[in-house]
Each structure stands twice: as C-alpha cells, then as structure tokens.
C-alpha cells in the first residue's frame, strides 16, 4: 500500500479565545489515501475547520503531527510551507476570491504564484472554468457572479496547480440547495473521473451521502466513521 496523502497523528490544537483556552482538537488521528473522498461532519465548534487548516498547512498544531505525503509539516520553514500550499487546493466557505480580479484572473493568479507563463496559464484557466461550467463568465468579477458561480470559480482555482488533494470548508454553506446539489455533483465527478482526492468539512448531509467515507467530529475528536 502506498503512503497516505494525508495523515495526522494525535493532533491537538489549543488556542486562546481572549483569556479562555479552547481545545479545538484533542487528539485526531486521520488517514486519507490517494483517490479518497472524505466528508467530515460535526456541529459548529467541533474543530472541523481547525483540522482542515492544519491539513492545509495554514496553521500549526499545538501537539501531534501532520504528514502530507509522508513529509512532517512541522519540520518545514515558511518558504517550504508556501511551496506545500501550492500543491493543496483549498476551497473556502466564503469563496475568498480576489474581488478586483475576474474569474479567469483569480484562477490565473494561482498559477502565476508558482511562476507559470502567461499564455499557458490563460489557456489552462479557461479550460478549468469550462470544466466547472463557467465558460461564459470568465471575464466577470466575483461581485458580478452568483454564490454558486463564485464557488465554482473557487473550485477551478483550487484545481489550477494540479493539487495532490482538495480541501473544502463548507463548500455548500453559502449557496442555495439547488446550486449546492450541482456543486456536489461537480465535486463527485472530479473525484470519480479525475481521481482527485477530496477532504470536505460540512454540515451538509447530502455531501456525506455522496462521499466515499464520512466521519463525525465532536468536541475535537473523531467519534464515528461510516464507509458508503
């Protein structure tokens, strides 16, 4: 068996909310293999987003380790972390697009960061936007797009640098149910047809049903796992 794409060992995170220490993660062990589609469910404050930030190399654990393709993230310096993030596709709950850039501009920027040339990244950005069904909207700015469209741009952006896996934080949290369904279809398609490894944190039961695996998180601990 090949090494897991993502592995966490006894992951703990405590942060201060004002004066009060909050134990967001209390020892999470997780293994995600290549091609997996994992949904992590749980109530607000259960530590889902914190876990996702750790896996996305955006935050550092208080204790325990995160391995991305067998590399211990805690040993990486600032620059190496930046390089690592380029290989992780992040889709945020609030889209987090750059408002002044068009849909294509946002996708292109992701490829400009590792230094891809202008013609190549333009071509690829257009292809990606076509994949997510936004061929007609490439020149629109985020403010001119609907919530669902913005989320599609965010997914196209997350895929731009051929990431090792996709991290999605409540991808359907801010869009209507019909659009949410389309997004879920798109994500499922990416996983099944393109073999993209996906970890999604959500409240949405629909996603949990479509995923290959679903885990329930409560109070910073994984308490239940279900394989579809």
């Amino acid at each position: 068996m090949t090494a897991p794409v993502v592995e966490t060992v006894n992951l703990r995170k405590t942060y201060m909310l004002g004066e009060v220490p909050v134990d967001a993660l209390q020892g999470v062990d997780l293994r995600v293999e290549q091609g997996d589609f994992l949904a992590i469910l749980g109530p607000s404050g259960s530590g889902k987003s914190t876990l996702l930030n750790m896996i996305g190399a955006l935050d550092k654990p208080t204790e325990g380790k995160v391995f991305i393709e067998s590399v211990d993230v805690s040993t990486l310096n600032d620059n190496a972390l930046a390089d690592l993030r380029r290989r992780i596709g992040f889709v945020f709950q609030f889209f987090n697009l750059i408002p002044r850039l068009s849909a294509r501009g946002n996708v292109e920027l992701t490829m400009a960061i590792p230094g891809l040339g202008k013609t190549e990244r333009r071509k690829r950005a257009e292809e990606l936007l076509e994949t997510v069904g936004l061929r007609e909207r490439v020149n629109h700015k985020p403010a001119e797009l609907s919530g669902g469209e913005r989320q599609r741009v965010a997914i196209a952006r997350a895929l731009a640098n051929n990431p090792r896996f996709l991290l999605m934080d409540e991808p359907t949290g801010n869009i209507d149910s019909k659009t949410a369904k389309e997004i879920i279809e798109l994500v499922k398609e990416l996983n099944e047809e393109k073999g993209v490894t996906i970890i999604v944190v959500t409240h949405d039961q629909q996603i949990a049903l479509q995923a290959k695996r679903a885990m329930l998180m409560v109070d910073g601990l994984m308490i239940q796992e279900k394989v579809n």
Binding site: N53, G56, L58, D59, D78, N79, A82, D83, L84, R85, R86, R87, I88, F90, F92, N96, L97, I98, R100, L101, L109, T110, A112, I113, P114, G115, R157, N161
Partner: protein, 428 residues
Amino acid sequence: MKVRDILSYAFGAIRLRKLRAGLTTLGVVIGIAAIVALLSITQGLQGTIAEQLQTGFATNTIIVSTGRGFGMGLDTITAPESDFKLLVSHTQIIDEIEGVDISAAEIRKSGYLRSGEQEFMLSIVGVDFARYADIYSSTFVARSGEISLNPENEAVVVGKRVSDPWENGTLLCDVDSTVEIIWTNASILPPKSEIYTGHVAAVLEEIGGFGIGPSDLSVYIPTSQAQSFFGTDECDRIIVKLENDDEATIESVSEAIKDAFSGQVSVTSSTAVLDIITSVFSTVELFLGGIAAISLLVAGIGIMNIMIVSLMERTREIGILKALGMKSRTVLSIFLSEAVIVGLMGAAIGIASGWVLANVVARVFSGGGPMQAGNRAAAASGMTIVPVLTPTVILGAFAFGLIISVIFALYPAWRASRLKPVEALRYE
C-alpha cells in the same frame, strides 16, 4: 512569482484606488518638484553670476585693495587695520613686478550726473582710460563716440544705462552732451557739493550684470581729473592685468604684490571670487534642498500612512495569497512595488513640474513676466536666470523619490509579509 506578474499585480492594486494613489503620488510630486525647482534655479543663478563675473572680471586680472573697499567679506577680515593708503602712484610699483602686464588705479565715489533738468545716481570712477581699455578690452569699449586714449581734460565716458537709463530711447545724455557730475564731499564741514563739468566723449557698449570691472551705471573721468575733483591721491583699488591667467602666475604675482606693500594690501583674483561664490551657493543649495527634502519626508509619511491603511484593508487578501502558496517575500515585493510605482511616478511628474516651475519663476524674475516689480528689480540687476537641470539633479531626484518611498513602505510591507495565513483569512 515572476517580477512582471508581481508588478502587474501591484499596479492593479494601485489602479483600484486611483484617487488615493493620486494623492499619495501628489505628495511625492510636490517634494520632488520643490527640490528640482530650487536646485535648477540656484544652479542657473550660480551659472549666470559666474558668467557675468567672468565678463566683468577678466580671468587674467587681479584686484589690489586695502581690504576696506572690494573684498567680498573675506578680505575685510584678513586685511590689517592700519593707516596704509593705496595711492594712484602705486601702480608704478605694481607695474615693475614680474608677470604683471599693466595696472590701473580706480578712484571711485558715489554721486550723480545732471544733464539738463534730469539727474541720475551713479558711480563716478576715475581711471586711466588707456590702461583701463587695455585691461578690459572686451567691456571698456565704445558703442558710440571714441574713448580717447589721451583724453582732453573734460572728456568723460558713460555707461550704456547712464546714456539711456529707461531703456526706451529717451536719452539722458549722448556723445557730445555736456553733463555735470556732482559729488558731495562729506569729510569737511559743512559738506560741500563739488561739480565737475564734462563732455561725453563715448558711450560704452552694454555690459550687463554687476561687473566688477566696467559697469553700465558708471561715469568715467580721467585719473588726473579725479584726483583734483575728489581732492585725493588715494585710490580704491588697483586692477592688475597679468601676462597670462594660469594659476601659478596669479599666485606668484599676488604674493609679490603683498610683499611689495608689506602685507598691507589684499589681493583678490577672479578664481578666488568664484571659489567664494561657489561655496556660498553650495551652502544655499544645501539649505534649500534641505527644506525641500522635508516636504518629501512628509510625502514619505503619507506613503507609510496609506500603506498601513491598505494593509488593514487587504489583510484578508494577503491571507488568500498566502493560502494559495505565495511566499512572504513575494508579499513583501508586491507592497514594495506599489511604493516604487508611486515613488517613480511621483518623481517623474515632480521633475517635469519642478522644471516648469523653475522656468516660470526664472522668467518672472528675469523680467519677462508680467510683474512690474520683478521687471524693475531684474532690469536693475540686468540678470537673466536660465534654470539648469543637470542629469545629476534628475537622477538624484529619481533616487531620492524612490528611496523615500521604499523606506517608508518597508515597515507596512514587512508587516504584510509576516501575516499568518489563518489569522489573515479570519480577519473581518
């Protein structure tokens, strides 16, 4: 990330807030324009003065005085206090010195010239016409009439502006006019006005400037006449023409003259005067440049202020960029690039507007402008300032604008680059 992409990203961020960027740039523009205008005017003025000095004060001449008369300040300090008097006859001593071609004594008094009903304030200068014409062969030249080298007693030579004081063709006097030259002797009691009646033999070519040699605002009478008219053998200074104008000759003759008068005279060469003027101007330049630099400093603080505001507004954007894998130094580069773009644009516009400003000021000051007062002041000094914009000033202004922008952007840019992705993304 490629440099071109960094610049284009930075440029996009600036374009998003045009008014804000414009006002920030304006700060730099004003600072740079002030520096460029002040420096190019001062340099122009310095050039004009140096040039006029050389016209009126041939480089192969030196001036001997007791230190009380002409001396540009420095000599007054070094000149010995004594009863020593520089006499007209001292030219004979000087003429004997090795390296001296010829010398001429000047007796100079303030007075006025009356022609018919009109009077005109001027300098009355007693000189040996032949010697003076030899020394100042380019300026002591007649435009009309003839400077008699062996003058009749009442012959006088007048400067251009004595003949035509209003510069409009209405002449106060001209060749063949009979004029009265009046001088008030205040050394006796009661003071007595002495009147000398002269016959205008020649009008000089226009000289311009504030020449140390012949001037547009003087009347020249023969030495012997001056001696009896002013009742003195004392002269104000002796102009010495050297055989050549190399440093060594100037040096050796100056020393020889000082020795001949036991150190009781001061000797001034044109090079020395130029040196003094240059040093005065460097000080003025530094002072004015310093004042202008303060405005640039203010502009720098403006840049810093706006960058910090921008940093707050864009915290989330920085979080996104970092989550996408942008390195801290790239974030730093983006913010610095924004400052560099503002600095360079400000410098370019500033240099151009400073240059325009300098020309406008110079024109007004030189009498070409509509201001009557400016006209008159400039006309009196007869100066035309041509602002000078040297490559050094241009490069310096660019560099200064750039350095100020970058220095003040360093802190905000550094803070932006240090933001933690998670915290930045959570920032509302």
